[in-house]
């Protein structure tokens, strides 16, 4: 058995990891002073582990995500492809059936044409406006972020 008490460092190590050293082990087993020191460290370590942790009192993820530079959508080409296809399709329709469409439209009263055309124009304009707003918002965030770094 080790005759002197364990050093403070040995006690800390013993409290944290135990020991393979039979001399140390038998000393701690028989020495009440060292035992008490070891146990006090162990209960202190446990208390620190269980102590309250600091938490932010705001939603960090929300704040950060609002400032992220515009992420590239994975399928950005998809709307463009759909738009081109529909333009080509409409052009082909007009090209092949242009005269028949004119024939048919002569039969429809102008009121009906207004009812169909006006909402279409308004919806398209609104969509352009929202795309523009979104773009300028993201652009200004991007600028701020670049200035900050």
């Amino acid at each position: 058995m080790k005759l002197t008490h364990l050093s403070e460092q040995e006690i800390q190590r013993f409290a944290e990891l135990g020991s393979n050293n039979t001399e140390l082990n038998s000393h701690v087993a028989e020495c009440q002073d060292c035992q008490l020191s070891v146990e006090n460290y162990q209960s202190m370590f446990k208390a620190i582990e269980e102590a309250e942790v600091p938490i932010f009192d705001f939603d960090l993820a929300d704040l950060v995500l609002a400032q992220l530079p515009l992420a590239k959508p994975q399928y950005a080409w998809l709307p463009a492809l759909a738009a081109s296809l529909s333009v080509i399709f409409s052009a082909a329709l007009v090209f092949y059936y242009g005269s028949s469409i004119l024939e048919i439209s002569r039969g429809i009263s102008p009121i009906w044409i207004l009812i169909i055309v006006c909402p279409a124009v308004i919806i398209t304009a609104l969509q352009f406006f929202s795309v523009y707003q979104d773009y300028s918002k993201k652009f200004s965030i991007l600028n701020e972020h670049n200035l900050a770094t």
Partner: protein
Amino acid sequence: MSNQNAYSLTDQQLVSQILAGDTKAYALLIKNTQGLVAQLTFKMIASPGDRKDLAQDVYLKVYKNLKSFKFQSKLSTWIGQITYNTCLHYLEKKKLVLLDAFLENDNEDPDVLESLQIKSQDVYQNDTEKLVFSRESAEILKMEIERLPPMQKLLITLYHQEELSYQEIVDITGLPEGTIKSHLFRARKTLKTNILTNYKREDL
């Protein structure tokens, strides 16, 4: 902290989702790692307003540099390192006194542990009482941790509360392992002594 998050995505999976533009994955990453960021900023920065700014700054830097992350450490360790450096840079810029306290004893003798061992044998004192941590003494513990020098306070928290390894703390702080160990040794000893003193005072 494990390499796997609550939704059992590995660091690699999470990073590749974020790089593909998945902002929900980034929100998840923030939720998984903000505990460590909070610990570091609370221990290093006194002003709540500045902590809020710095925490956001950290995650904007993380996002910007994610592409260059090489998985040589855990993602959380890398974020911890960015947080530590961001806070240190802030203290430097503000020329706050704290910085000196943080960097004290930076160049310790490599044999510091041996010398500590000899010193500690000289000043060996018996514990006079058994520490039992109740709800009230948890308050004393919290107060005594706050009273430690800033670096000791930080290291006690990272090692005993966040349960980081020495290597992870080396990666985050850039301090040599010996310095970390000696700060920790002193922090634990001071903490235990002060708590015991508090106990005695309460008894009187």
